[in-house]
Amino acid sequence: MKITLGTATEPGGSLVNKTGSWRTAKKPRFLHQNCTDCGMCDLHCPEGCISGDGENTYVNDEDYCKGCGICAWICPAKDIEMIPEGGEDD
């Protein structure tokens, strides 16, 4: 690890920080039933950790997802639900 002059730092270093470990209560489950590929979940994610390409393909990256629940709230098709962290999918 190098201390650079003026703490100049390379881009994207934050990816080492797996904020997914913050989740204690809830996380999103993408039902993949009624998704219309509107992309609103991806667009509204403050972490930018939702990705998908086409209907019923969207998933969150559990390494970074903080479980805020904005995606579930915004999904117009109600195709995302918040389930307990440590639920049946774990």
Binding site: I3, T4, L5, G6, T7, A8, T9, E10, P11
Partner: protein, 394 residues
């Protein structure tokens, strides 16, 4: 090279121009103002291709040159006194960010009470900031130090900002004959600036990241280490300057009749002229006395100073500053340097010339006499006897 009778601020402005800064930003404050006015006219006449930005305050002047320097260009700014204090936060920030900013500070007293005349209290307040500080004796040296400052600051072994201190009014407003180099000579001495890190979409970087306890201390260690390593670099640049321009300017300090002196007066800046005259008079009367004019105050060249002063019996520090509640900053540094060494002179400290009070040869002689009589920690020279001082003698 052209030798011309010119005002100090004009000489400084001309040298600043020759150093090819691309962004210039400053805020007016007496006695720096004319430097910036001269630069404004130079830019307006198309003789310097630079962005000249009139800002709304010194904090912004320093911040603006910080931003420009971080974007990879050479910059210039100047200030004094209250302005330096206002931008103090940014001064520390620039050093911490390791940006090679060069600033001319026209040394002036600090408020309150308001006083626009010369002393060195202002630059002393930021001596801990990580900037190099070089003090000029006359306008020729002020001009020369500015050129050397860019060389030192932009050296990849340094990458720290440099402050060229010129005694306010004494230097900027005085007319002296100054030898201003040609553009070719300056270009040969000062190559284009090549930053190590800069803001560039082609190579994105985050600058000014915050450092947690497990990383911050090392950044301070790095600056301390670099400042110490800059001492030979300051000498190196001064020597190269002498080879290129044929005169001695800059370096760590100037010794005048110090070799066999039993008493050495130590000063910073323009007062050295008066001191040298007194030294000559006292030498004529048989006193073994000399004067050491410190040029590089930061980094403090401990080893070289101890070698130069080690054989003296008395060192008499005269400074235009005071650490209120303690002693004089230069005296403190010097005593610390000698602490524990076998050859250690008696170091007396005196505060003189605050707020532009005139310093005469008699004043200096009285300080020397007092030092000979008794080792003095800190004392004022030249205080008026005819005044009532509320709370003290009235």
């Amino acid at each position: 090279m052209t030798k011309k009778m010119m005002q100090g601020c004009r000489a400084i402005a001309e040298m600043a121009t020759l150093c090819r800064p691309q962004v210039v930003s400053a805020y007016p404050i007496t006695p720096q103002t004319v430097i910036v006015e001269e630069l404004a006219q130079i830019v307006a006449d198309g003789n310097l291709k630079a962005e000249f930005v009139n800002v709304e305050g010194e904090h912004s002047a320093a911040s603006l040159v910080l931003g420009a320097s971080a974007t990879g260009v050479r910059v210039f700014t100047a200030t004094s006194s209250q302005g330096l204090l206002l931008m103090a936060e940014v001064v520390f920030n620039i050093a911490g960010m390791r940006l090679p900013v060069v600033m001319v500070n026209a040394n002036r007293s600090v408020s309150a009470p308001l006083n626009i005349w010369n002393d060195q209290q202002d630059s002393m307040t930021v001596r801990d900031s990580g900037w190099l500080q070089l003090y000029a004796e006359n306008n020729q040296e002020a001009t020369d130090l500015l050129l050397q400052a860019y060389r030192i600051a932009e050296d990849h072994r340094v990458m720290l900002p440099v402050m060229v201190c010129v005694d306010g009014f004494m230097l900027p407003h005085a007319y002296e004959v100054v030898d201003v180099p040609s553009q070719e000579e300056v270009d040969a001495f000062l190559p284009p600036h090549k930053p190590i890190y800069k803001l560039d979409p082609g190579k994105p970087l985050t600058m000014g990241a915050y450092a947690e306890p497990d990383k911050y201390m090392e950044t301070r260690y790095m600056i301390q280490h670099t400042l110490e390593a800059a001492i030979p670099i300051i000498e190196e640049v001064a020597q190269e300057f002498k080879r290129s321009f044929g005169r001695s300017s800059g370096g760590l300090f100037e010794e005048y009749r110090v070799d066999d002196a039993s008493t050495v007066i130590v000063v910073l800046g323009s007062v050295a002229g008066t001191v040298k005259d007194l030294v000559d008079d006292l030498r004529d009367q048989g006193q073994k006395i000399g004067v050491l004019r410190l040029i590089a105050y930061r980094p403090f060249p401990k080893e070289a100073l101890c070698r130069a002063l080690g054989n003296a019996e008395d060192v008499v520090v005269l400074e235009k500053a005071l650490c209120l509640g303690s002693s004089g900053p230069l005296a403190l540094d010097l005593r610390s340097a000698f602490h524990g060494r076998p050859a250690s002179p008696k170091i007396s400290g005196f505060t003189i010339g605050l707020g532009g009070r005139d310093i005469t040869g008699d004043d200096i002689k009285s300080a020397v006499d007092r030092a000979h009589l008794q080792l003095t920690d800190i004392d004022f020279v030249g205080l008026r006897e005819d005044l009532e001082l509320e709370g003290i003698n009235a």
